[in-house]
């Protein structure tokens, strides 16, 4: 229990630091480039409008107070505004929380789809090639996976886009087609049609990562004594593989899947950009290009915190899956 407590304390500290860094980046930019936040958000505002905006953003407060207020607001779900006016109407805009609330689900859906697809393909392949280690099938799969590993999400996305353009009969859009309430309910036909190509693009490299990892771990596990024990009990190969070898081998996979969320987020940003998918990555890019620094700051902080949380959850899951760790912690 004590370790669990420390883990939570650590999580809180990391969240503080991560948000603090996201927040200070804006200040750093001010210092580095000399152009203020106001200049970016409301370049054409009158002095009065600028002053009002300055007031609204509490930019006259001391730095740490600004951070405190920003964090407090963020905790209650208020990330400020995406400013739509650039002149005298500088201080009006849309709630960032509202935008994020609409677009984050798209990205999460995309990433979950991609992880699912990657695992659905990688797990059986990894298990089977480990079992048939050295066979022709194993060797061919390894070569294919090696190539897939080198295929960045953007290349897969562009290639699929070109393919979809050349094969309109497939009925898969090369770009996201605006529909009223996106994201659509998961796993509906329309939703899958829109998400299929982005999902595949994002999954390609992950398939290779997971499959290779699982294969090498499974090969190691299959050498273990307890596998011989299972075999000597007369357990059929399928059960030996799935029930005895897979679970201990899946631990590294889990860690990597957690760490991989970082790569996945990066990939999602690019894939959303290429397919014009209105996810949070797409919004991040738009905010950057539109100099919406307040919004950019918020999105970066949100993504970083999500990432930290996911890794925390993976850590917890790890202890659930491995009783040795679970008990070591319970005792400690």
């Amino acid at each position: 229990m004590r370790t669990a407590f420390f883990k939570i304390v650590r999580l809180v500290i990391v969240v503080f630091i991560v948000t603090f860094l996201s927040f200070s980046m804006l200040k750093l930019q001010e210092a580095a480039t000399g152009s203020t936040i106001i200049d970016k958000v409301a370049p054409f505002g009158s002095p009065a409008a600028k002053a009002k905006l300055r007031q609204q953003l509490h930019l006259n407060d001391p730095f740490f107070m600004q951070y405190g207020r920003w964090l407090g607001n963020a905790a209650s779900g208020d990330f400020g505004l995406k400013y739509t006016g650039t002149g005298d109407n500088a201080s009006i805009g849309t709630r960032v929380s509202k935008i994020v609330g609409k677009e984050l689900p798209v990205s999460i859906e995309l990433m979950i789809y991609a992880q699912l697809l990657a695992l659905i393909i990688a797990l059986p392949l990894g298990i089977f090639t480990a079992y048939k280690n050295g066979s022709i099938f194993d060797r061919v799969t390894n070569i294919v996976m090696f190539a897939m590993l080198a295929m960045p999400a953007f290349l897969a996305a562009l290639a699929l886009q070109i393919w979809a353009a050349k094969n309109p009969n497939a009925g898969l859009p090369t770009q996201y087609i605006g529909v009223a309430d996106f994201p659509l309910t998961p796993f509906t036909r329309e939703n899958l049609t829109q998400m299929l190509l982005p999902t595949i693009s994002l999954a390609v490299a992950q398939i290779a990562v997971y499959m290779r990892l699982l294969r090498s771990d499974m090969i190691a596990t299959l050498q273990e004594d307890f596998i011989t024990t299972a075999k000597a009990k007369g357990i059929p190969p399928r059960r030996v593989l799935l029930r005895h070898a897979f679970r201990p081998s899946s631990l590294t996979l889990l860690t990597v899947a957690g760490l991989n969320v970082g790569a996945l987020i990066g990939g999602a940003i690019i894939v959303e950009q290429i397919f014009n998918l209105p996810g949070i990555g797409y919004e991040l890019v738009r905010s950057i290009l539109g100099s919406q620094v307040i919004e950019t700051q918020a999105i970066i902080a949100i993504i970083a915190v999500i990432y930290v949380l996911v890794n925390f959850l993976v850590d917890i899951l790890y202890t659930v899956l491995d009783p040795r760790i679970r008990h070591a912690r319970a005792i400690a």
Partner: protein, 369 residues
């Protein structure tokens, strides 16, 4: 694929009806070699013995002599690729060497089972003890989940695990080595096999529990009328527990005899060396075998003639030139592979000539006698 098999696999019903007379296991000229980069490693090289129902044979030899490979080869547990196998291993007349995986699977756990050397690694670390036992029960017996749990509980109790009920829900790492080995034994005897392999079942254990585990094995064997192949590197372990003993060296049986005969009239110099290495103290021990100088031969490029000749204190030119065959002694069921068997005048003469010539191993014997 096909739904999980619920039909009982117990018995050799996958083979034709089993003859009930004759020995339970007959191993005939069994050879097992690994294909390695350096060449064929002949880990088991022509082993022959037979085992009656309910009896125990002790297989003794220092580490690397091929005991584990022999037991796994008989049971058919070795991987099929990179292995060359010949000879026969007849379980109730059915050859295990030529049996298919499917046939073997029906026998594994049901007709023959194995207790492995290291209980730290031979149990699945992420599976509850209870499930590891019920798994084998449900695989071979057509029983319900609840009943299999009852049986598992009874098994744990019968192998002397206290608070068995609670242990069912524990993981291996929550138990000591001795307790784990009891669990391994429970799994092995769960379906009432006729043949139990115990591959150095106490080597990895704390000295204080070694005797307990061996006693448990013996007790269970008697109760269930199992035949047992007890593999060990310690002649002391089998002295009181085996009916017969086969001494292995470099993949071969170099001497075999009923236990009493062996201890009274051992003939092979290697057996003699093993015997010498049993501690005089009553305490059980586990590391004395290396008191024999030198190492087992390279099984890929074995020496010509007698395999033991590089280390033998009685070695003569004949030994290096010609490999001794298995020679029957005057005692019943006693055979050995040696040109100059211990206790004969030829043997004494050989030792003296070696001592005179200053052969190190022979000189080392001077103080001993």
């Amino acid at each position: 694929m096909s739904p999980r098999r619920r039909r009982s696999n117990i018995g050799t019903e996958r083979f034709e009806a089993a003859p009930l007379d004759g020995p339970l296991l007959e191993v005939k000229d069994l050879k097992t070699a690994f294909k390695t980069a350096r060449g064929l490693a002949r880990a088991v090289d022509g082993v022959t013995f037979s085992l009656e129902r309910g009896r125990t044979i002790g297989i003794v030899g220092e580490s690397g002599s091929g005991k584990s490979v022999l037991s796994r080869s008989i049971m058919g547990l070795l991987p099929r690729n990179n292995i060359v196998r010949s000879g026969q291993a007849l379980l109730e007349g059915h050859d295990l060497v030529t049996a298919s995986d499917e046939q073997l699977r029906a026998l594994w756990g049901a007709q023959m089972a194995m207790v492995f050397q290291d209980p730290m690694t031979s149990l699945n670390p992420v599976m509850k003890i209870g499930n590891q036992i019920t798994e084998v029960l449900r695989q071979h017996l057509d029983i319900t989940k609840d009943y299999s749990r009852e049986l598992a509980l009874a098994l744990l109790q019968s192998v002397g695990i206290p608070e068995a009920e609670r242990r069912l829900n524990e993981y291996p790492h929550q138990m000591s080595g001795g307790m784990r080995q009891r669990v391994v034994i429970a799994i092995a005897i769960a379906c009432g096999p006729k043949l139990l392999f115990a591959d150095e079942p106490t080597t990895a254990l704390d000295v204080t529990v070694q005797a307990q585990i061996l006693d448990l094995l013996q007790e269970q064997q008697r109760e269930r009328f199992m035949a047992m192949i007890l593999v060990t590197h310690d002649l002391g372990v089998v002295a009181t527990r085996a009916d017969d003993i086969a001494v292995m060296y470099a993949g071969r049986v170099v001497e075999t005899a009923p236990t009493r005969t062996l201890f009274r009239a051992m003939s092979h110099p290697y057996t003699e060396a093993l015997m010498r290495s049993i501690p005089k103290l009553a305490a059980p021990s586990h590391t004395r075998l290396t008191a024999i100088g030198g190492r087992p031969p390279d099984i890929i490029n074995p020496p010509t003639g007698c395999q033991f000749s590089p280390r033998c204190p009685y070695v003569q030119d004949k030994c290096r030139a010609e490999e001794p065959p298995l020679i029957d002694s005057a005692e019943p069921h006693h055979a050995y592979r040696c040109w100059f068997p211990v206790g004969t005048p030829e043997n004494r003469a050989a030792l003296e000539s070696n001592q005179r010539a200053g052969v190190a191993s022979a000189v080392a014997m001077m103080g001993a006698n």
